[in-house]
Amino acid sequence: MMIGICTWNNLVAPVFDVSGTILLVQTSPGRRDILEQEDISVCDNLDKIRRLTSMNIELLVCGAVSRLWHDILTACGIQVISYMAGPWDRVLQALDEDRLESSEFRMPGCPPYMQTRNREAINKVAAVKKAWMRQSS
C-alpha cells in the first residue's frame, strides 16, 4: 500500500493545502519502506493534482486540509487521514499499530465529516493488514 505523508520539520505538515513535501512510504506485509521525499512546494494546484495522482498514493496522512482539497483527493481515489499532528515517524508507527485515533496524534479543529472519513480510512488500513496476516498464515 502506497502511503503519502505531508511532512515539515520532521512533523506532519500543519496544512495540506500549502504543504511543500510529501514522503512516500510503501507498506507491505511485515515491512515499511520509505521510498522518497517529493518536493511539491513549487507546484500550483494543477501540478499538485497531477503529481499526487501520478504517485499512486492510496492513503494520504496530513494535517489540516480544506474541504475543497479533501473532496479533490477523495475524488482522485485517495483515502485521507487528516488533522494528524506530531513527528511523522511516530504517526506512521501509530498507524501500523492501530493507535492513530489516540488523542496524542489528533490535531484540534477536525470537522466531523473528516473524523468520519478518518475512521473509514483507518478501518480500511486495518482490513488490508488483516488480509495480509491471513495470507501469511
Partner: protein
C-alpha cells in the same frame, strides 16, 4: 507531541477583559511556540476552543497558509520587527478557508526579556464576500481549472488580453464563453472601460441594428431622442457579440464593414462615428462549417477568427468537477448566507459519472437547486434533481472512485500525448511525471 503546558494564562484581570471584548483574534505563545492564551474572538474565527488550543504548538491550532514557510511570528522572533496586516488564510474547524490579516509583536517581561510572541488576526471573509457581491456575477474563480484541456485557454487568455485583437470564442453552451470574454477584458489595457455584451440571436435584424449602432432622434417613428448603440457604449472597452453564428447574412455584411473600417453609422445619422472597441465574438456553432454551407460570410469569418479560443466541454475536463463544486459551495454559502459544508462523496461520484450536456452552467444550476433544498451539512443525493438520479439509473451503477481515477488519468495522458504529437518525453514533462512512469501507465491503461 508536546505535553500541554501547565503555564497559567498570562491573560488576567483588566487585560483579559480587553482581550475578550475585541473582535480580532489574539493568541500568545511562549518560547517553545506553545499557545499560552487564546481569546474569545480567536475561538470564534478558528472554531477551536480555548481549552483545545492552550498548550498546543500554534501551527496545530492556527492552520494558516503561512505556518509552514512564512510564519509571521517566527519572522518577528527572528528579526525583532513587527508584522502588520499580512494577508493569508486559515482552515477553520469546518474545513473552510477563511481569509484573514495577521499582525505580530514580541512579548517581553518586566525586565524587557523576550518571553514569547503575540499574534492578532482579523477575519476578512465578510469583506471578501462584499467584494464579490460588488463584483456582480463576474467571478474569475469560475474559470478555475486543473485540466490539461483548459490549460491552453488559461495560457492564451492573458496573452490575448495584452493585444487589442479580435477574438473568437467557440464552445458548447454553458462552457463559460462570456466569462472568458470578461476575463480578457478585465486583463486588458481597457479593463476599466465598459464591457458591453449583446446576444445576436435574441433580436430581429432591425432591432439588432439599432441596438448595435444606435439611432438619432427622428430616425424612425418613436425615436424621440438620440440613443447610443453598443459600439458607442463600448468605446475604449470591449464589445462582446454572443452567438454571432446566428446573425443574418445581411447583418453580417453591416458588421463586416464596421470591423474593416472601424467606424459605423447610427440609424438616421449623416456622419460616421469611429469605434475603438475590441470585438470578442462567441458561438456555440462551428463557424467554419457555417462558412462551408454558406450560412456565414467567409470574409467576416476571417475578420473575427484572428485569435480563436476553443472552450472544452465539462465532460472533457471532469477532473475540474470537485474544484468547481467546491467553488460553487463557497459562492452560494456567501450569497445565501448558508453554511453548507460541502458535497457528499456519493454526489461527487455521481457528478463525475454524468456527461453534463449543459456544462458548467448546468452544474451551477444543480448546485443552486441543491442549496434551496439543503439547509445544513453536506449536499446529498436527495438534494439532486430527479432527472440526474434517473439518468444515473439508466446508465447503470455509479463507477467506483478508482474507475473514475483511471478514467481521469487515461484522459489526461491521451490529451498530453495529443498535445505533444505522441512525444513521450514531452508528454511526461507536461504531466509532471517521469517518462518511465508514463510508459508504465500507458501500458496499464491500455492506451
Amino acid at each position: 507531541m508536546s505535553p500541554k503546558t501547565k503555564n497559567k494564562e498570562p491573560c488576567s484581570g483588566f487585560n483579559c477583559s480587553i482581550l475578550e471584548s475585541v473582535s480580532d483574534g489574539v493568541f500568545t505563545v511562549d518560547g517553545q511556540w506553545l499557545i499560552t492564551s487564546f481569546n474569545r474572538a480567536a475561538e470564534l474565527i478558528t472554531g477551536i476552543s480555548r481549552k483545545e488550543a492552550v498548550g498546543r504548538p500554534c501551527w496545530e491550532v492556527f492552520h494558516s497558509s503561512l505556518c509552514e514557510s512564512e510564519c509571521a511570528l517566527r519572522y518577528t522572533r527572528k528579526t525583532g520587527k513587527t508584522v502588520v496586516g499580512k494577508t493569508c488564510y486559515i482552515v477553520d474547524a469546518r474545513g473552510r478557508r477563511i481569509t484573514i490579516s495577521v499582525s505580530t509583536a514580541l512579548l517581553k517581561n518586566v525586565h524587557g526579556e523576550v518571553v514569547g510572541g503575540v499574534e492578532t488576526f482579523r477575519d476578512l471573509s465578510e469583506m471578501e464576500s462584499l467584494r464579490l457581491k460588488f463584483k456582480g456575477d463576474f467571478d474569475m474563480g469560475d474559470l478555475i481549472s486543473h485540466s490539461p484541456a483548459m490549460q491552453k485557454v488559461l495560457e492564451v487568455t492573458p496573452a490575448v488580453a495584452e493585444t487589442a485583437t479580435t477574438v473568437l470564442i467557440q464552445g458548447e453552451t454553458g462552457t463559460g464563453k462570456e466569462l472568458v470574454a470578461k476575463t480578457i477584458h478585465a486583463l486588458s489595457l481597457g479593463g476599466k472601460a465598459p464591457f458591453v455584451a449583446i446576444n445576436c440571436a435574441a433580436l430581429p435584424d432591425t432591432l439588432l441594428e439599432s441596438e448595435l449602432f444606435g439611432y438619432k432622434a427622428g430616425a424612425f417613428t418613436g425615436a424621440q431622442k438620440n440613443k447610443p448603440g453598443k459600439f458607442a457604449q463600448a468605446r475604449g472597452g470591449t464589445l462582446f457579440l454572443d452567438e454571432i453564428g446566428d446573425m443574418s447574412l445581411s447583418m453580417q455584411t453591416k458588421l463586416l464593414r464596421v470591423l474593416q473600417e472601424k467606424c459605423f453609422e447610427p440609424l438616421g445619422a449623416f456622419a460616421s462615428e469611429k469605434t475603438d472597441a475590441r470585438i470578442i465574438a462567441a458561438t456555440n456553432k462551428d463557424l467554419k462549417h457555417l462558412v462551408d454551407i454558406g450560412a456565414f460570410r467567409q470574409d467576416l469569418f476571417y475578420r473575427v477568427n484572428v485569435v480563436r479560443i476553443d472552450l472544452p466541454p465539462l465532460r472533457d475536463r471532469k477532473e475540474d468537477i470537485p474544484f468547481l463544486a467546491g467553488h460553487f459551495v463557497e459562492r452560494f454559502n456567501r450569497l445565501f448566507n448558508r453554511e453548507i459544508t460541502g458535497v457528499d462523496p456519493q454526489v461527487l461520484s455521481l457528478f463525475m459519472a454524468y456527461e453534463w450536456p449543459g456544462n458548467i452552467r448546468e452544474l451551477e444550476n444543480i448546485m443552486e437547486r441543491a442549496f434551496v433544498l439543503c439547509r445544513h451539512g453536506e449536499i446529498k443525493r436527495s438534494h439532486l434533481p430527479r432527472d440526474l438520479i434517473l439518468k444515473e439509473g439508466k446508465a447503470g451503477e455509479v463507477p467506483s472512485m478508482s474507475t473514475i481515477k483511471q478514467g481521469l488519468e487515461a484522459g489526461n495522458i491521451s490529451r498530453a500525448l495529443k498535445q505533444t504529437q505522441n512525444n513521450l518525453s514531452q508528454a511526461a514533462k507536461l504531466l509532471g511525471i517521469h517518462r518511465s512512469t508514463l510508459h508504465r501507465k500507458i501500458k496499464k491503461l491500455g492506451l
